[in-house]
């Protein structure tokens, strides 16, 4: 059983580039319907499949993702 993880996304800094969506191996992330104050659709977590692999955070050009993983 894979470890469980979680992500915290700084939605105000997100530019909605979708690079993290392509990097996530478990399709945990998607773009929101809402926009942030700059008008970008930001990344949100849409299911509980996160394993805390941090792939999304490593490729995020704007460093908006913080990753947690159970010990």
């Amino acid at each position: 059983m894979a470890k469980k993880g979680d992500v915290v996304i700084n939605i105000e800094k997100c530019k909605g580039c979708e690079v993290c969506l392509a990097a996530c191996p478990h399709e945990v992330l998607a773009l929101s319907n809402e926009v942030n104050s700059k008008g970008y659709h930001y990344t949100v977590k849409v299911n509980s499949g996160c394993t805390g692999c941090a792939n999304c955070a490593v490729v995020c050009p704007d460093a908006v993702i913080t990753v947690y993983r159970e010990k």
Partner: protein, 253 residues
Amino acid sequence: MAENLIKPENLVYEKTKVLTDRVMHYCPGCGHGTAHRMLAEAIDELGLQGETIGVAPVGCSVLAYYYFDVDMTEAAHGRAPAVATGIKRVFPEKTVFTYQGDGDLAAIGTAETIHACNRGENILIVFINNGIYGMTGGQMAPTTLPGMKSSTSPRGRDVATMGNPLKITELIAQLPGTYFVTRQSVHTPGNARKTKRALKKALEYQKLNKGTCFVEIVANCPSGWKMTPVQSNKWMEENMFPFYPLGDIKVPE
């Protein structure tokens, strides 16, 4: 599954403190942001934040000094290796890097780049190659691929009239002053992690006074290439990598 994992002891990844909290001005999906972070993480992991001096270029990354929380200075267009030479000679105990794009390093600053590398200055040169002049509106650069469209080569780069692309990294690797020359990318998690390892290696070699270390990062330019970020990364894999193959070009024996 109601357990809350968001606790300090579960933290596995957060933005490094070597990057400031400022929102970067780069376009969505631009490789500059990831390249900045990999360099910042390499500096952080080696504990060099307090003794690093960076030199920002002219180009999209002209404002790099806002994003790195280390001492930074700005150089005239293309002259970052010359400025870094001066800084390193005055402060030989400091870690000195330049961060330059292809228009800065391979066009305007070709002379400074080649001579700094040939003299074997103990600096790290980080070279971001996206094959285009991003900041000024996507004009053709020396690194633009044959047949690649840009705003000044709208029908594609015609080698017969516009000349050949410059593989400056291979050229630099021939010089006796360079110690470690490599080409990486940051578009996938694996590639980004490899880039960080290469940057860490280069910073460690600088501590040993081994000569110039040169790390090229092939990057995307979604706005200049007129693609979405994900499309541009795919285009880069299919078109840029055959011409600019990833991997180490010169490694210490």
